[in-house]
Every structure is written in C-alpha cells, then in structure tokens.
C-alpha cells in the first residue's frame, strides 16, 4: 500500500516536472514517450564529499553529500540522465523563459540542468562566500566568472548544443552539467529513473539518453497520433570510474 502511494507520488512529481519544462513551448502534438533508465552491473560507490575547507558547508551537510557522477535509485534506477529527442524533432522556438541554476551550500542544484540553445540561463548564489563559475565547454566559448556573496545572478546563454561540465575552482567538489539541446523535448530522470517526453506530434523520432559517465544510448520511437510509447534504457555500469 505504502509502495503504491510512493509510486503515485513519484508519477505526480514527474508529471508536474514535465509540465514546467514543456510549458515554455506549447505542445505541438499529443503523443508521449515515457520510460525508465536503469543499469546492469555494479555501480561505482560514490565517495562522501569532504567540505572541511568550507566549514559552513561541512556543517550544513550532515551526513556529508556524496559525489554525483553516478546516482542510483530504487530498482537499479539511474538518476540525472538527460533523455531527449535527438532526431526527427519538430522545430522548437527558443523559449524566452530563463532556466535557473543554483549554488547553495557548496552544491549545484540541479546537478544536471537541461536547456535549449540560446535559452536564457540564470546562475544564482545563495552562499555567504564567493564562488567562481567555470563552465568547460569545447564547442561554446569557455569563460570563468567570480560570484561573491550577495552578487546578482549571472545572465548567460549557450549558442551551440553541447553537454558542458561546470565547476567551481574554489570548491573543487562542486561539479555539474549544462545540457544544451537543440530540442525543447527533454527530460532528466528522477531518483526512480523515470522520464517523460510529452506533446509530440506524429512522427519517427530518435530518443537519446545521456549519462555523464556512460555517454549516449539511442533508440527509434514512432508516434502515430494520441498514444504513449515506452522507451527504456539500460546502461552497463562498472564499479570503477574512468
């Protein structure tokens, strides 16, 4: 009974989450693609983060946060996997609504932030000390800006699709990703590994899942009208990070 309740709750969270994401561009159709991202094998053990160099943060996270390179959930679920339409996508206008990236307690929220090419990106800080935001793109220009306590948000955007690692050099454990995508049809898996792409018009699509450690996986899905198709992804994991 309790399990069922949690499932319903999780589904509700996914639904609400997707509604926010898709609301930027009105849905062009009524087809949906849903699924789960899971792993086989033994995932690497994520180490606890030592924040003793920033005592405020060390105090805030008790027990300590762990590294977020491979985050797993119940039932072999993989969290923070970006699932998106990589081919066949209907043209998506650039949303004017900004996406928000937060620095709080020496952690990035969310760990992986999806956005569309040229969509405004706002980087906020809540911490009472300075961070430097240092995205490390290969295709887009690399920059590095300081953001001291109380500084206004940094307004920026990315003009080429790319998965961009972002880090803080002052607090080297702070590590996240900007997932810059051509499409507005994207979703990031929750702790149950669930994702959902909504409002797709009929067509043949390539759905791609990206995980920061295990790269890409793709599969083709055909949507014909008002239907919900399932697409599951399984990543093979090893106990070692490389």
């Amino acid at each position: 009974m309790k399990k069922k309740y949690i499932c319903v709750l999780a589904a509700a969270v996914v639904l609400v989450g997707c509604k926010i994401i898709v609301s930027a561009a009105p849905p062009a159709g009524s087809g949906n693609i849903e699924g789960k991202v899971t792993y086989t094998g033994t995932p690497p053990k994520m180490k606890p983060i030592d924040m003793s160099k920033e005592p405020t943060c060390a105090k805030e996270h008790n027990p300590p946060e762990t590294v977020q390179t491979v985050v797993t959930g119940p039932g072999n679920a993989l969290e923070y996997v970006v699932v998106y339409i990589s081919a066949g996508e209907p043209a998506s206008p650039t949303p004017s609504q900004p996406v928000r990236f937060d620095q709080k307690g020496c952690m990035y929220t969310p760990h992986v932030l999806p956005m569309q090419v040229d969509q405004p990106l706002q980087i906020f800080t809540d911490d009472p000390f300075a961070h430097n935001i240092h995205p490390l793109p290969k295709l887009n220009p690399e920059w590095n800006k300081s953001q001291p306590a109380g500084a206004p948000p940094i307004d920026t955007k990315w003009s080429k699709p790319e998965f961009i690692p972002v880090k803080c050099n002052i607090h080297p454990w702070m590590h996240g990703y900007f997932a810059v995508l051509k499409t507005s049809y994207y979703s990031v898996t929750d702790n149950n590994g669930s994702f959902s792409l909504k409002g797709l018009p009929p067509g043949k699509y390539t759905v791609t899942a990206w995980q920061e450690q295990y790269n890409f996986q793709s599969q083709d899905v055909t949507i014909s009208g008002n239907e919900t198709k399932t697409a599951n992804f399984v990543f093979k994991v090893t106990p070692y990070l490389y």
Binding site: P141, S146, Q147, P148
Partner: protein
C-alpha cells in the same frame, strides 16, 4: 592543340620525375603533416599584416616541438613538462582559449594580445620570449596559430575592456584594495599574504585537468601577462581563461580595480614597492587596527 598540351604536360611530368629522382636524397626533409582546421588567416598588428602561409614554416621551425603539428599542445617535448612540478603544459591552440587577453572572459583575444604574449613569453613556463624574431615573423605566426581552431572563423575577437585612468596609490586606495582582497576571497587561492598558499590552492586544476599553482606575489617574479599596473588591472577584469582565475568585471567597479592593483603591490615584499612603504608607514601608527585576512571568525568563537 589538345595533343600539344598533352605533350607539354608529359614533358613537365618527366621533368618532375627526373627532379624527384635526382633531387630528393639531397633535399630530404622530414615531412611533418600539420593539421589545421581553417583556411588561410591574417593578423593585423599595427602596420603589420601577418599571413598564415608565411607563419607555417616559422611554426614548423620554432613552435612545433612543444605545441605539436596539430597545435594541440602535444608536441614531442610536451611529455617532459610535468604540471605536478609546476611546469604548465604547452597551450592547446585547438581550443581557442587564451590566458592573456585585453578582452572579456569567454571571448577571443585580439591579434595584439597574441602578439604581445608571444613577444613576452610566459615566465615560470617553458615558453620563452620571442622578441628575437622580427615583428613581421611574429605577426605571421599569430596568423598561423589561428588556423588551429574553428573559433577564429565563427567568432570575432572580443572588444578590449575599457581601463580608466589610474587613481593615485594612496593609503585609502591600498586599504580598500585589501578589503576587496578579503571580500572577493582572493586569499582562498592566493593565501592571506599572497604566497599562493590559500586553502583551495592545492586542488586547483586548469581546464584540461592539469594541476596549476596560484601566483605567489612574494616572489616578485614577473607576472605572466605583463608587469605593468595596466597588465595587472586587465587580469582582474578579464580573468585568465583556461585557468581557475575568474573575471571580476561583474563584481568590482572599474575604479576599484586600481585599489586592488595597489594592494597587490604591497604583497610583493621582495621588491620593496612604494605601495609597500606607504602601507608599512600607515601600519606602524595603526598597530592592531586591521583584521587579519582569511576566514571570518564566527561570533563567539
């Protein structure tokens, strides 16, 4: 007519074969395949116009050993540069990311920036000063370096930042600079005394993941991007792209940059700077009035 042309062509090819057969052993040259990604590029430095075609042989002669045939910094000498020992790897030109710029963070440098960096060399690294090459050669090299990254085709160089007239290096300016050094948390990497030993110093890496050291002001060594107050000012406002040093352009007012410059001069204790003298004179009559630089003490601890 056609027959005549064909005959001429075969005569030329015969000549070519003769030349190759006879000439090749004498003029044997290791053919290094250089991989560039753009077509011909130009550089404009003052009255000089550099051409990448002219820069290519110069690069092959002077730069390829470290920066490599593809410009990715993986030349045959690069393996001997150990970043854990403080020797930075050669610059990877394929990224189009450069430390010493007059332009905002995230933008390409101007041709002058590249020309100046090459001329100056990089102190504490294996990159020497290239002043011995005439200006035209350096301009040609700047043009050639740009053929390694497609960014030079898609992006324009940034607009150099505006630098206001330097304010007088008064004690007020120095003390305000000291406050900024605390507030902007420069000490987290550069250390409370500017010795490059702040709490985050040991974990710093450049954008390619190699360890990198924050600058130690007390050594009095030349700065990587130039020695003048203007050069120092520029570093705060542009950042050193590809390194952990961020841009402070959004966080400090233009005139405050000079206060930071004046304070940093007081950290160069081995140089006995006039700013240091001003600061020491003030400190001797205000003993114990300054809070030490470093982590804020929580009340009651």
């Amino acid at each position: 007519m056609i027959r005549k042309t064909a005959g001429l062509a075969s005569a030329w090819s015969l000549l070519g074969i003769v030349l190759l057969a006879g000439g090749a052993p004498c003029h044997a040259q290791i053919d290094i395949h250089m991989h560039t990604v753009t077509g011909p590029m130009e550089s404009h430095i003052g009255a000089l116009t550099g051409k990448s075609s002219e820069g290519k042989p110069l690069y092959r002669r002077f730069c390829i050993g470290c920066h490599g045939p593809s410009g990715d910094g993986a030349g045959e000498n690069a393996m001997w540069f150990d970043p854990t020992m403080g020797f930075e790897k050669p610059r990877d030109f394929t990224l189009g990311v450069f430390k010493c710029r007059s332009t905002p963070t995230g933008t390409l440098p101007t041709d002058d920036d590249l020309f100046d960096a090459m001329t100056r060399g990089f102190v504490t690294t294996n990159m020497p000063q290239w002043q011995p090459l005439i200006g035209q050669d350096r301009a040609n090299l700047v043009a050639f370096i740009k053929t390694f990254s497609a960014r030079w085709q898609t992006d324009k160089a940034g607009t150099p930042i505006a630098i206001p007239t330097e304010t007088p290096a008064t004690i007020e300016s120095i003390l305000h600079g000291r406050e900024l050094f605390q507030k902007m948390e420069c000490w987290k990497c550069h250390g409370p005394e500017g010795r490059g030993d702040g709490p985050s110093a040991a974990t710093l890496t450049d954008s390619k993941g190699n360890p990198i050291r924050p600058y130690d002001f007390t050594t009095g060594l030349r700065f990587k991007c130039g020695v003048s107050n203007h050069d120092l000012y520029r570093i705060f406002m542009t950042g050193l792209d590809g390194t952990p040093m961020p841009s402070f352009a959004d966080n400090i007012k233009p005139e405050e940059g000079w206060d930071l410059v004046h304070f940093l001069r007081t950290l160069q204790i081995s140089l006995k700077t006039s700013e240091r003298a001003t600061f020491e004179k003030w400190e001797s009559s205000h003993t114990g009035q300054l809070k030490p630089i470093g982590p804020e003490q929580a009340p009651g601890t």
